[in-house]
């Protein structure tokens, strides 16, 4: 009985060490977010280049007739409401 108990203890320790190591590796991967790099930096570059190539009137026209109208319904009615509800629940 005693030998089984020692084996179980050793196995538990090994499992715990392996689990901690895996968690550390996975944790490191999911702590380094790249959203800003993939999204915000690219958008900033693209925006600057589009603004260089189109006049203010064209920019405003596309903004009003595509961006604003999609934003009204998708961003403010759906995204914002989900985000706001989630944030309130978390707080």
């Amino acid at each position: 009985m005693k030998s089984v108990s020692v084996r179980d203890q050793v196995m538990d320790q090994v499992r715990a060490q392996v689990r901690d190591r895996v968690m550390d590796q996975v944790g490191a991967q999911v702590s380094a977010q790249v959203s800003a790099q993939v999204e915000a930096q690219v958008v900033a570059q693209v925006r600057a280049q589009v603004m260089d190539q189109v006049g203010a009137q064209v920019w405003a026209q596309v903004w009003a007739q595509v961006r604003d109208q999609v934003e009204d319904q998708v961003w403010w009615q759906v995204w914002w409401q989900v985000r706001n509800t989630l944030q309130n629940e978390i707080n």
Binding site: Q53, Q65, V66
Partner: protein, 286 residues
């Protein structure tokens, strides 16, 4: 420099608007394989190595739970702030796709991965080598003015049951819909958030609210569009005046008005920033 759009380009503006409204409001399930391929293009576009680990979550709360399991040290607010919004980024992705496809601006091709991604998933968290995709909502419901709204259930429902309840664009506690009988005039009229208070009164029905509070009539105009001035004693608040009036669509409303109002006409005019007789004159003219 492009100073004007051609007629052909202008004709495509509503096409792109409608296309991206459809993408943004899509309730299709997550397309995992296509989302994986698209996010890899997005990583490569900024010189990052492709991620190799992909997880799926059924809703934003499921994603938070999953990421906390992957890294218990991650704080919830940090996970939230790291989220990108996939299909819900439709407004600005559609804007740049128009410039890419219709105006021919090559620089917008850097967004190819993100544009493609928006077609296939909801929100997502992008980390070094790891991406957590979220499913899109199972349903999204609006009123006839495109405001988030559902009278008999959640206005937004995810596949794991996570939901948002809304009344004509105002988010409300779920129990106001799931257990309407518990919502009383007293709860409604003493609710701190004024937009939600108005929603609560509408859910109960203004006529019921005023009846429950034994409102007494101060003045009733012969024209139902001018309405009736009522006074009620609201618990914990005191005496308040309301104008009960029919709108052009035949719906009954009760609008809080200042305590110095003496007639329905005066109160109705106040809602337009006018004086009573001037409102009557305007009505005669129209």
């Amino acid at each position: 420099m492009i100073k004007n759009l051609t007629a052909e380009q202008e004709a495509l503006l509503p096409v792109y608007r409608d296309k991206w409204l459809d993408i943004g409001l899509s309730t299709e399930p997550l397309n995992f394989e296509k989302a994986k391929a698209a996010v890899c293009v997005a990583y490569e576009s900024v010189g990052l190595p492709k991620p190799t680990k992909f997880y799926t979550a059924k809703s934003p709360v499921d994603a938070i739970r999953l990421i906390k399991n992957l890294n218990p040290r991650m704080e919830t607010n940090k996970i939230m702030s790291d989220m990108a919004y996939g299909c819900h980024d439709a407004n600005w992705l559609g804007f740049y796709q128009y410039f890419r496809d219709v105006v021919g601006i090559k620089a917008c091709e850097k967004l190819d991965g993100l544009i493609d991604l928006a077609h296939h998933c909801g929100w997502l968290n992008m980390y070094h080598d790891t991406v957590v995709f979220q499913d899109r909502p199972k349903h999204i419901k609006f009123d006839d003015q495109n405001r988030l709204h559902c009278e008999y259930g959640p206005a937004i429902l995810y596949r794991d049951g996570y939901s948002v309840y809304a009344w004509h664009g105002v988010t409300i506690p779920s129990e106001w819909i799931t257990n309407k009988g518990e919502l009383t005039a007293k709860i409604a009229l003493t609710w701190a958030n004024t937009e939600q208070r108005k929603a609560a009164c509408e859910i109960i029905g203004w006529a019921t609210v005023l009846r429950e509070l034994n409102a007494h009539t101060i003045d009733s105009d012969e024209d139902p569009m001018i309405g009736t001035l009522l006074e009620v004693d609201i618990p914990d608040i005191g005496e308040e005046k309301f104008l009960r009036v029919l709108c052009g669509t035949g719906r009954e409303f009760a609008i809080p008005v200042p305590p110095n109002m003496k007639t329905a006409l005066e109160a109705n005019a106040w809602t337009y920033g006018l004086e009573g007789n001037l409102l009557r004159d305007l009505e005669v003219r129209t």
